[in-house]
Symmetry: none
C-alpha cells in the first residue's frame, strides 16, 4: 500500500511527542523521505503532512512561475515559509511545533487522517465536526446525482 488511508487518534506525551501511526510510517518509508514534511492547511484548522510526494507537489506549484516574479515569491513565502520538516525519532514519533499546534488547536490528542498522497493532523473534536459536515455534503451530492439522468450527470461524455 502506498497511500495514506483511515484515521487514528493518538496522544501527545509529556514532552509533546506523538507517534505517527505505523501504517503511515510505512508509507513514508516507501516514499523514501527521512522526516515528515508538513505545513498548516490553508483553509482549515489542520496540518498537512507527507513525504516526497507532497513536497514535489509544492515544488511544482512554485516553479510554474518565473524566478523573482511576485507570484513565485509570495507562493514560496506562504508555502515553504510555513513548512517544516519534522524529525522522526527512533520510535517513529515527531514533535509538533507551537505554530502547527496552535493553527490546528491541538493540545494533548491528535487525529491522523489519511488523504491518499498526504495526510492531515487534526484536533480530534474538530475533525469529528468536519467529518460530519463532509458526510452531509456528500450525502446531498449523492442525492442530486441520483435524481439526474445519465445524460446530465457530471462527467458524462457526449
Amino acid at each position: 500500500m502506498d497511500r495514506f488511508v483511515s484515521n487514528v487518534v493518538l496522544r501527545l506525551d509529556a514532552k509533546g511527542r506523538v507517534s505517527i501511526p505505523a501504517q503511515f510510517r510505512s508509507v513514508l518509508n516507501r516514499d523514501g523521505f527521512d522526516g515528515l514534511y508538513c505545513y498548516p492547511a490553508l483553509d482549515r484548522p489542520a496540518i498537512d503532512a507527507g513525504g516526497n510526494a507532497l513536497m514535489a507537489e509544492i515544488e511544482h506549484l512554485t516553479t510554474r512561475y518565473a524566478p523573482f516574479s511576485d507570484e513565485r515569491e509570495q507562493l514560496a513565502i506562504a508555502l515553504y515559509g510555513t513548512s517544516e520538516t519534522l524529525k522522526i525519532d527512533g520510535e517513529g514519533r515527531v514533535m509538533l511545533s507551537e505554530t502547527l499546534k496552535s493553527h490546528a488547536g491541538i493540545t494533548d490528542r491528535v487525529a491522523f487522517v489519511g488523504l491518499g498522497h498526504k495526510f492531515q493532523i487534526w484536533e480530534p473534536d474538530r475533525f469529528r465536526a468536519e467529518l460530519a459536515e463532509a458526510t452531509d455534503k456528500v450525502r446531498a451530492l449523492k442525492q442530486r446525482l441520483g435524481s439526474q439522468t445519465a445524460r446530465d450527470a457530471p462527467g458524462a461524455r457526449e
Copy 2:
C-alpha cells in the same frame, strides 16, 4: 534535506551578531559555500540570502541577456552591485551590514524564512504582515484552481 523551509525568529546580540538557524546552516554546508551570499530583495523590505544555488540562479538570470545590453547591466548593478558575502563565525553567526539592516528595517530581532532554494531575512513584524498577505493570495489562487471543477463537484473543497 536540501531546501530552506520554515521560519524562525532569532535575536541579534549586543554586538549585532545573529545565529543562522542550524537547519539553514546544514543546507548551506551541503551546498558547499563558505559564507552567506546576500543582497537586499528587489521589491520587498527583506534580505535575500543563500549559497551557490542562489548565485547560480542570479548568474543564469543575467546571462539570458546579451552582454553589454542595458538589461544585463542594470540587472548586474541591482543584484551583483548590492550583494555581500557575509562571514560565518565559528558558532554559525553572521553580522548584517548597516545597509542590509536598514533596507529591511531590522533592529534587534530577525525572522529567517525558507523559500526553497534561498531564504529571506525579515524584521519579524513586517514578515508577519507579508505572510498574511501572501497567504490570502495563495488561498485565492487555490480557490480559482478549485473552481475549475466546481461544476463537477458542488460544494467540494480543496
